[in-house]
């Protein structure tokens, strides 16, 4: 009995430390986003309010607050992310289907798979740097289209893996059955394979959406200073204005948490490591 009380106490202490380290950084962000005056070493801000929030959301326009409207940056990020999802999925679904279901010689397939593994294993920053040099030559640096291409590469690597493993989890007998009663390959795909794989494909699309919304390194090299997505705005604000930066950080983490809670059970654990590098 004594021992079990002792164990429970230890468990609760560890739990408390765990909760503190998990949530304190997050809480710090939330408090800073509403802190109007906070002098060291006061435990809490002396004055709180939503001034920075209102300013960032474009509801008020004060010149003294040191915060700007981030709605345009948010809409830019959103627009880029949507286009990236459409292009990426249009490319990844056929590729994933082909790799999972169709006959490709083993050697070639191996080479293709390695090609899609390299970006996950090796640091991407030097690649973006040279992509920037490439884009400099053809005038894509600092353009939205250039940024879309960078996000496409980042998202495609995951999308192909996720769609391929989704398709390969579907028993080939289903499609064969449809074809044995006269459906064409195309019809069998749209009537049988696609509906069954919808959860996996949606998860993949959401994943691509979030990698684009959160993408930092590629946009930093290819997009700045002309294409300011939400993460770039956060970076710019970070050094100068802690309240404003906290507001943007919270705006950025809301979609990540919302979406991932919904789709995480459709994704393999390994893929989640690609979030927000």
């Amino acid at each position: 009995m004594q021992k079990s009380v002792f164990r429970k106490t230890i468990e609760i202490i560890i739990f408390t430390v765990f909760i503190f380290f998990l949530f304190a950084p997050l809480l710090s962000l939330v408090i800073w986003s509403v802190a109007l005056r906070w002098y060291w070493p006061h435990t809490l801000p002396q004055e709180i309010g939503f001034d920075y929030w209102l300013q960032a959301l474009g509801i008020t326009k004060s010149l003294t607050l040191g915060a700007v409207n981030v709605v345009p940056a948010f809409l830019l990020s959103l627009g880029i992310a949507i286009i990236v999802v459409i292009i990426t999925m249009a490319i990844a679904i056929p590729a994933g289907y082909s790799l999972a279901k169709l006959k490709i010689p083993a050697l070639l397939k191996g080479i293709i798979l390695i090609l899609f593994l390299l970006p996950r294993a090796f640091p991407q920053l030097p690649v973006f740097l040279n992509l920037m040099l490439m884009f400099n030559k053809i005038g894509l640096t600092g353009t939205v289209f250039g940024v879309i291409l960078v996000h496409l590469v980042v998202g495609l690597v995951f999308a192909v893996w996720i769609t391929a493993s989704t398709f390969s989890s579907i028993p080939p007998e289903l499609e064969e059955a449809a074809r044995s009663v006269g459906a064409t390959r195309l019809k069998a795909f749209f009537k049988v394979t696609l509906p069954i794989s919808t959860p996996g494909l949606v998860a993949s699309a959401v994943f691509v959406f979030l990698t684009s919304m959160d993408e930092f390194t590629g946009t930093f090299f290819v997009g700045l200073p002309f294409v300011t997505t939400l993460p770039m705005t956060l970076y710019t604000a970070s050094g100068s204005n802690i309240q404003f930066a906290s507001v943007i950080a919270i705006l950025l983490l809301i979609p990540s948490i919302l979406f991932m809670i919904v789709i995480q059970k459709f994704l393999k654990a390994e893929h989640l490591g690609g979030m927000g590098g």
């Binding site: 435990t43 279901k101 593994l117 996950r120 064409t184 956060l234 050094g239």
Partner: protein, 300 residues
């Protein structure tokens, strides 16, 4: 693998069966047509610049093939290369140990405490590093929330707060973000181990440390190694967090040096040589990762 072959054969057979609908040549090139766009994107926008970083690292300022960039990199950034390796290794090590402990706890313990930890720990996985960077800037700052809290507990002298905008803060942020991801992967592996193994070990008198070191860890070695690899490789390449936390200081990570080299000096040769150093740093683990993923294939 045998099964896949069978599937492929089956698909091949049915192709012949319905081959009357479409000319054979169409079905023959269909697989290639479908992967072609994806492969082209990766070749042009990934592989070409990837290879270019090797090539350009050997081109000096006059456009001549030389080792000058490497000489300069070693002279100026020797310490930063070691710093990157050190911080990444330390972070990966701490995250691994921590995540194994938490995963063991979640595997063996039942009750509302472990259930709630089992859900809550996932939170950092979904947050991008750029958000974590801002979070840690306010949390770990000399006058930040952590120092404030520790000062309240009298653990820190308020006049002399902890300085964490260095390797320590970097390690803290890396572990905060990546340990949960490792827990997720390792937990998945631990769930596969049947309770009967653990009960059998207990019945012959095995204590907790033995269960961990003799059953849980050995039976999950591949899973743990994959987790270690993914974390180590992602941390070597991480840019936003070190850049925002310690960007203006020294020592910094390789990725920050590359950005500085490009932004302040336009020196792509040395920047690429630094990039090659970061490739070399992950190369062993990256090769292990590629090899084990190829073995597993898409069909696991």
């Amino acid at each position: 693998m045998g099964n896949n072959l069978k599937n492929e054969l089956a698909v091949g057979k049915s192709e012949i069966g319905v081959g009357v609908e479409r000319p054979r040549s169409y079905t023959n090139i269909l697989p290639y047509m479908l992967v072609f766009p994806a492969v082209m994107v990766i070749l042009l926008l990934y592989l070409y610049p990837f290879l270019a970083s090797f090539w350009k690292s050997f081109i000096n300022k006059e456009g001549v093939l030389s080792l000058a960039n490497y000489e300069k990199t070693l002279r100026l950034y020797r310490y930063d290369v070691l710093f990157t390796l050190g911080v990444t290794t330390l972070s990966t090590f701490i995250a691994t140990v921590l995540s194994i402990f938490v995963a063991v706890y979640l595997r063996l313990s039942k009750g509302w405490l472990s259930n709630s930890i089992g859900i809550l720990y996932r939170l950092p996985i979904f947050l991008p590093f750029v958000v974590i960077a801002q979070m840690m800037r306010s949390f770990l700052a000399p006058h930040g929330t952590l120092n404030l809290f520790l000062a309240k507990l009298n653990l820190v002298n308020i006049e002399n707060p902890l300085q964490l905008f260095n390797w320590a803060g970097l390690t803290f942020g890396f572990v905060w973000k990546q340990a949960p991801f490792m827990i997720l992967i390792i937990c998945g592996g631990f769930q596969m181990i049947d309770d009967s193994y653990i009960e059998a070990a207990r019945s012959v008198g095995a204590k907790l440390p033995q269960i961990i070191t003799k059953i849980l860890i050995p039976m999950n070695k591949p899973t743990i190694l994959i987790a270690v690899t993914l974390v180590f490789c992602s941390l070597v390449g991480c840019f936003s967090f070190p850049y925002m936390l310690i960007g203006g200081k020294s020592p910094v990570t390789i990725t920050v040096d590359i950005a500085h080299r490009v932004n302040y000096f336009g020196d792509y040769g040395v920047a690429n040589a630094l990039g090659v150093f970061s490739y070399i740093m992950v190369s062993l683990l990256a090769l292990y990762y590629v090899r084990s993923m190829m073995k597993k294939g898409l069909y696991d």
